[in-house]
């Protein structure tokens, strides 16, 4: 039996819409479930309190501060490397085997799982270089993990700056670097910022590579050489060791809201960037 093509199309259209609706419903369910169970336990005391009895009671201030420092170190290191790579790849590089190797390296690094970064950061930073479990070790490891994201987004942003801008600058007598510094980078800035923000979002949610490099100390970190426990790691330990479901849900709710806010702001800058270049 052959189905009439128009009927077949109608059936498939409904089936596809159903699949899409179900997919999106599942994703929304996860966020809704965490927020519904977590938000009632989030209050000011939780956000600015210190954890007591291994996190069974009290708040998460040291984890918020630790997460902030980890992200700061990661971004401070990954941004110059990433933006520099992107400038070189788009403004200077001539296509050849070396550039192909560099691009392959960036793509591969983007696919390396977080647990491998964790092993690597542990041997290099914690053991070999002697930084111990610390914000420095964790931040450096995260920096390498978000490097490909920042390179790709920055290159797209630099690519989107019209060639005419560069020609005008050069015709006025500016050198190549002057043109990049004064014309290309300011115009590409919102796009580059999008990449940095996406990198921040990824760092905040990371667990596997942070737990082996930054440790899981409950203390307020005193310096970059002190160990810390990020919010994601804290949530993992609370849930996995069954310390407190209530606090686990509350930590997860804070984490999810933070990441959604970070990623939404990335979209905001992306849109401003696209609108400006049009």
């Amino acid at each position: 039996m052959r189905i009439e093509p128009r009927a077949e199309q109608r059936i498939m259209r409904v089936a596809l819409a159903g699949l899409a609706a179900l997919t999106i419903a599942v994703l929304f369910f996860i966020i809704g479930f965490i927020l519904k169970n977590g938000l009632p336990h989030v209050n000011l005391a939780f956000l600015i309190g210190t954890p007591e009895r291994m996190g069974k009671e009290g708040g998460i201030l040291p984890m918020i501060v630790g997460t902030f420092y980890l992200v700061l170190v990661a971004v401070a290191i990954a941004t110059p490397l990433g933006v520099g790579s992107a400038i070189f790849l788009h403004e200077y590089a001539k296509e050849g085997w070396l550039v192909r190797v560099v691009r392959f390296g960036i793509d591969c690094l983007a696919g390396i799982p977080s647990i491998i970064f964790g092993l690597f950061g542990f041997v290099l930073f914690v053991i070999t270089l002697g930084f111990g479990w610390s914000i420095l070790s964790g931040g450096l490891t995260l920096a390498f993990m978000i490097l490909p994201t920042i390179i790709r987004t920055s290159e797209e942003a630099i690519k989107a700056v019209p060639g005419a801008y560069r020609q005008v600058s050069k015709s006025l007598g500016a050198g190549k670097w002057q043109t990049i510094q004064r014309v290309v980078l300011p115009n590409a800035f919102p796009g580059i910022l999008t990449g940095i923000i996406l990198g921040i979002g990824r760092s905040v949610g990371e667990t596997a590579c942070v737990i082996f490099t930054a440790g899981s100390s409950l203390q307020m970190p005193a310096s970059v050489f002190a160990p810390t426990r990020s919010m994601a790691v804290h949530f993992y330990i609370l849930a996995r060791e069954g310390i407190s479901m209530e606090k686990a849900f509350a930590t997860a709710a804070v984490l999810i809201l933070l990441i959604l806010a970070i990623n939404l702001s990335a979209y905001y800058f992306m849109h401003r960037f696209i609108a400006r270049l049009r």
């Binding site: 077949e8 997919t23 520099g84 560099v102 390296g105 690094l109 670097w177």
Partner: protein, 279 residues
């Protein structure tokens, strides 16, 4: 002169990512390979027994665990992911897809521990109650992973489908084909390598995922007899034991890392070649 120095400096920053990749390979291999050599490649890869206390290191059951969990995730994620991508690119009103695509990409940012947590609380009790077994299982891990790789698959296949030139569709529609016939006969064929690349990248993400899998897979060191049995993957083996491993045991975890690294590099290279072929 100044221009030359700047160009040099930028060149070195551009090498950073490749250099880091090299460093990662170097340190993981330096720590792990000696143990693989000592145990013997065959005994390490195909050994069924993992007993760090008596220095027996065989990773076969973790290899099988990773394989089943990843395959299961793809079996579930492919129809949903492709269906969603085709719907958004070809059938939904433009305004709807313009809202939904960023929303789906936003969801890719949910941390993996959150997926694992929801899996433990919501999914594993359902499996235990309705299908039997302990709940923490290959099936639970596959379902959670399939949800986690959906944004990757949807986003990249959507881009591949959207990149198919409009003239292809118009040609097919002008010949009297319906939209659906155009999609299956023309669009999907033209977007094939991009779609396959999205599945391979999703597979890479599933193989490498750690925290969510630890929380829902049960982590037993044995070959799973059915999809309702618990299992332990390569990644979970590293993360579970790294906290207390020392000496040879730690080396064995890096050896597990070597295996994982090699698998991931093969997957990445395949996706890279497919995407380059398209350009």
């Amino acid at each position: 002169m100044r221009e030359r120095i700047i160009e040099r400096a930028l060149f070195f920053t551009a090498l950073s990512a490749t250099f880091v990749l090299f460093l990662i390979a170097f340190f993981i291999f330096q720590q792990g390979v000696p143990l693989i050599v000592k145990v013997g490649v065959g005994r390490f890869l195909f050994g069924l027994k993992w007993a760090p206390a008596s220095s027996v290191f065989g990773v076969f059951s973790f290899l099988v665990g990773s394989f089943f969990v990843t395959a299961g995730a793809l079996v579930i994620a492919v129809p949903f992911g492709l269906g969603c991508a085709i719907f958004l690119a070809e059938f939904s009103p433009k305004a709807l897809s313009r809202v939904l695509k960023p929303v789906i990409e936003l969801l890719a940012g949910i941390p993996s521990v959150v997926y694992g947590f929801v899996g433990v609380i919501v999914l594993t009790p359902l499996i235990r109650e309705y299908l039997g077994g302990p709940g923490l299982s290959v099936l639970a891990a596959a379902i959670i992973l399939s949800i986690m790789v959906l944004p990757t698959i949807i986003s990249i296949s959507y881009d591949a489908i959207s990149a198919v030139p409009h003239s292809y569709r118009e040609g097919s529609l002008a010949l009297g084909a319906t939209r659906w016939q155009t999609v299956t006969g023309v669009v999907l064929r033209a977007a094939r390598s991009g779609i396959i690349a999205s599945l391979i990248l999703g597979m890479g993400r599933a193989v490498g995922e750690t925290m969510a899998v630890i929380m829902v897979a049960g982590n037993a060191i044995k070959l799973p007899g059915s999809i309702l049995d618990p299992t332990r993957t390569l990644t979970s083996n590293i993360a579970l034991e790294m906290a207390y491993a020392t000496g040879q045991h730690r080396q064995a975890l890096f050896a597990t890392g070597v295996l994982l690294f090699v698998i991931i590099m093969i997957i990445n290279s395949a996706a890279y070649l497919l995407i380059k072929k398209d350009e």
